[in-house]
């Protein structure tokens, strides 16, 4: 799928290679969903991005909401007017949205509402690897778990349907290996989205004051009972494989199911496999029958023993002696990290005593030997990233005694050497919050680092708290005009919407002044002297102060220059270089490298000509490779 517009093709039966997240976007069109909201976050981002690219053509309303709870509320409002809605977020985004989610379960919906949460086992791009299925237990909402892109599309439609039938939002849990796997998807028929809703006043149902909430809790529990019947008859809960060996059976869901079936084949095991696509509420009767039919049941799932504990409870209720193998007690499968074909193979081999087809022990030995001196390659700030300049200035001005609570975004990478700006990182906005407790108790100069999109998402209430309680912190907003880490989505500071229309930009400095911050500065981090001066003033200010370091994302700037045909002039090292390595030690820019002779060189393919290295070089040994025709920045 080269072009998102190809999702608009109404060609049922056509097979297209699609990313799991693109398949969910196609599901939106086939389900007739009218409202889609999101806050971007890996591995969920492409759901919103794909819908955004086709929304106006498809007649769907799409927005990048300011954060996940707002996204969920906008979708919930629409669904309560009878319009089908989908909201998409990453797993930790669901924590932000949880307050609304859990009470929305009491209220319910009239139009189908799908709440996509994309989990990130292995923390490829996240601060934790929580298992969002536990939110299904907490909220009593139905939960679906697709195992591949085809199911991701089909189950989006199914989710909207059962949501409408049960009058409950449906949690739709994917993982990286579902969201970010490409596979053939057979298209279904497009449905015309309905955007016209009607609000029916019904305070007992919709106004959750205590007197109304209490009975709605019971209504919710009745709905869960009905949802159990749906789960028993769901086409996504079934015995996907019938084996000849009836002693043992396997229960699995999501990507774990894929690893399980291939591992069984590799080990030559012919077991029944119960595949669960609807994992809340569980089909208790179906699981009970499966337990009765087998002496041993192996539960294979990623992250928490969610299915396992429920299955053990079902076995207990039925008084069954079936042995259940999983993660609790003997840990046949790991509870942390991403599951893999190997981990499943090893677990199955341990339970069954079957010999492994590969000697992983000798493979590991050989591999450890081969990669012993191999340097790691973690993600880093791009060459020319304005945050690198900001971090350099912050560290230069405030030094090693200052403390630097930081936040979620590209700029989280500033914690790494040589920039060393980032002392505590928890969740969206927490840099600004923790800074206040840290400053209060240590008295140390405290600079809270936060990005532009994160500022709008979660910074504002924390900023108000700092101002009102007179916390002496400096808030450094690293503004690069975009939500960069997740793929350059718009936010309220950009002036563009998810529908690709323009709107008025909201200026961070105006928000800060509105919140009562008395010292607010806006600087370009590449105007080094001016930026240093502003930060010094902010540090000297006895109350909350805020400095916006503003320069566009280097990736967007280079792209824009190429589009406009503006030449990018890289820097080069001249003969004055003494090889003191200050540029490398201070900046860690990926465009600055060492040659085989260990002399400094600049990779002209990577350098975007920001000039930071020329500024820090004590010998003026770095210069532009030719005079610019026009001045950028």
């Amino acid at each position: 799928m080269s072009n998102p517009k190809s999702l608009l093709e109404d060609k049922p039966g056509k097979k297209v290679l699609m990313l799991g997240n693109e398949a969910i976007a196609r599901g939106v069109l086939e389900a007739g969903i009218g409202v889609v909201t999101t806050y971007p976050g890996t591995p969920a981002s492409e759901i919103g991005d794909t819908v955004s690219a086709i929304a106006s053509d498809a007649g769907v309303y799409m927005e990048y909401s300011v954060n996940e709870i707002v996204a969920l509320e906008v979708a919930g409002g629409a669904a309560n007017c009878g319009v089908r809605a989908l909201t998409a977020m990453k797993h930790v985004g669901l924590n932000v949205a949880a307050d609304a989610l859990i009470t929305l379960a009491y209220v319910g919906v009239r139009g189908g509402m799908v709440v996509v949460t994309a989990d990130d086992p292995e923390c490829y791009s996240s601060q934790n690897e929580q298992d969002s299925r536990l939110y299904a237990s907490l909220s009593n909402l139905p939960c679906l778990e697709p195992s591949n892109p085809q199911e991701a599309k089909d189950m989006t439609i199914y989710a909207a349907e059962i949501s409408e039938k049960l009058e409950l939002p449906v949690l739709f849990r994917t993982t990286t290996r579902v969201s970010h796997t490409r596979a053939p998807v057979v298209l279904g028929k497009l449905s015309k989205p309905n955007l016209k809703g009607e609000f029916i006043r019904d305070a007992k149902r919709l106004v959750m004051v205590p007197a109304n909430s209490r009975p709605r809790h019971d209504v919710l529990l009745q709905k869960v009972e009905r949802a159990k019947e749906t789960s028993e008859t769901s086409p996504y809960n079934n015995i996907a494989r019938r084996g000849k060996d009836k002693e043992c059976g396997v229960i699995s869901s999501s990507s774990a199911y894929n690893y399980a079936v291939e591992a069984l084949d590799l080990l030559g095991l012919d077991f029944d496999v119960l595949k669960l696509g609807m994992t809340h509420p569980l089909p208790e009767k179906m699981i009970g029958r499966f337990l009765m039919e087998h002496d041993k049941v192996i539960v294979i799932e990623e992250l928490e023993p969610y299915l396992e504990l429920h299955i053990k409870a079902i076995a207990k209720d039925l008084g069954l002696k079936t042995e259940i193998y999983g993660k609790t007690g003997h840990q046949y499968f790991p509870r942390s990290g991403e599951l893999s074909p190997r981990k499943v193979l090893e677990g199955l081999s341990k339970v069954t005593g079957k010999k492994l087809p590969i000697s992983f022990k000798s493979l590991d030995k050989k591999y450890t030997e081969a990669v012993r001196d191999l340097p790691p390659r973690p993600p880093i700030l791009c060459a020319g990233c304005p945050h690198r300049a900001s971090f350099y200035i912050i560290r230069k001005v405030a030094g090693g005694k200052a403390l630097y609570p930081t936040d979620i975004g590209c700029y989280a990478l500033g914690f790494a050497p040589p920039l060393n700006v980032g002392d505590i990182l928890i969740c969206m906005g927490a840099g600004l919050g923790t800074a206040q407790g840290i400053s209060k108790t240590t008295g140390a100069p405290t600079i809270a680092i936060i990005g532009d999109s994160t500022f709008f998402h979660a910074g504002v209430p924390r900023l108000l708290n700092a101002v009102y309680n007179k916390h002496r912190i400096v808030v450094a907003v690293l503004d690069n005009f975009t939500t960069a880490m997740t793929g350059h989505q718009p936010h309220p500071g950009t002036g563009v919407t998810g529908m690709h229309t323009t709107t008025e930009r909201i200026a961070i400095e105006k928000v800060a002044k509105g919140c009562g911050v008395k010292l607010v500065k806006v600087v370009n981090p590449f105007n080094f002297k001016e930026a240093e001066k502003a930060l010094k003033e902010a540090l000297a200010f006895p109350e909350t102060s805020l400095v916006v370091f503003r320069a566009p994302c280097a990736l967007l700037l280079s792209r824009e220059k190429r589009r406009r045909g503006v030449e990018i002039i890289p820097f080069r090292v001249n003969e004055k270089c003494t090889n003191c390595l200050a540029c490398i030690r201070l900046l860690g820019c990926p465009a600055i490298t060492l040659t085989e002779a260990k002399t400094v060189a600049i990779n002209e393919n990577l350098c975007v000509g920001c000039g930071l290295c020329a500024y820090v070089c004590p010998y003026k040994a770095i210069e532009q490779s030719k005079s610019p025709e026009r001045k950028d920045q």
Binding site: L17, A183, L345, I358, A370, R377, P379, T593
Partner: protein, 202 residues
């Protein structure tokens, strides 16, 4: 039919995800089942990138078991070595020539490891190693950015993947930006000819 397992490894910006998508699209064109795994987000920014492509009549897992890769398509020598655990003595390991020093290494004041040392270590796993002059050929085709097309051409020449050269070319034409189509096609052909001329006997 046995599932064909391919690991693509390199650095963000080398066009690995697009190469994987081209392979996947070619597989769909020929009626195969296919899984392409990707990692997005943080790992894109100059970080290590791995993608896996599995092609067969019926494929479940999007990840490959260690030791089970048919081909490791390495876009960068260090990253090829980092993913060598997917290789066995039967695996063909193709290694591109663009060396991208990890900043952590530069920061320690060290230069890029000698290429022979990396190739020696790859041989712990397989002797079937094919160095590919991908950046040189990409430059010849017209842009350092089309190494991915060179590597795809090189893969096609080994005839290990169960997709025809024509299907790969067709998928490439669908997926690369029109503006860069000609240099991509040229890069693909250069990679293909390069490996054909090596006259590999495995």
């Amino acid at each position: 039919m046995k599932i064909f397992n391919l690991v693509l490894a390199g650095v963000g910006g080398q066009g690995i995800l697009l190469a994987a998508e081209i392979l996947g699209t070619a597989a769909v064109k020929e009626g195969f089942d296919v899984r392409v795994s990707e990692v997005h987000g943080m790992a894109q920014r100059g970080g290590a990138v791995v993608s896996m492509v599995r092609i067969g009549e019926k494929v479940f897992s999007s990840l490959i078991l260690e030791g089970e890769a048919d081909v490791v398509l390495g876009f960068e020598p260090i990253e090829t070595l980092r993913n060598v655990r997917y290789a066995s003595e039967k695996t063909v390991i193709m290694v591109g020539d663009e060396r991208i020093p990890p900043p952590a290494l530069t920061l320690k004041g060290e230069s890029y490891p000698k290429i022979d040392v990396i190739l020696e270590k790859l041989k712990f796993f397989s002797k079937r190693i094919v160095p590919v002059e991908a950046s040189k050929l990409a430059y010849k085709a017209g842009s350092p950015l089309v190494q991915n097309a060179v590597m795809l051409g090189a893969l096609a020449a080994t005839e290990r993947a169960p997709v025809k050269k024509e299907s790969l070319m067709e998928a490439l034409k669908e997926l690369v930006p029109k503006k860069y189509l000609n240099i991509n096609v040229k890069a693909f052909e250069l990679g293909y000819q390069y490996v054909k001329n090596l006259d590999l006997n495995f």
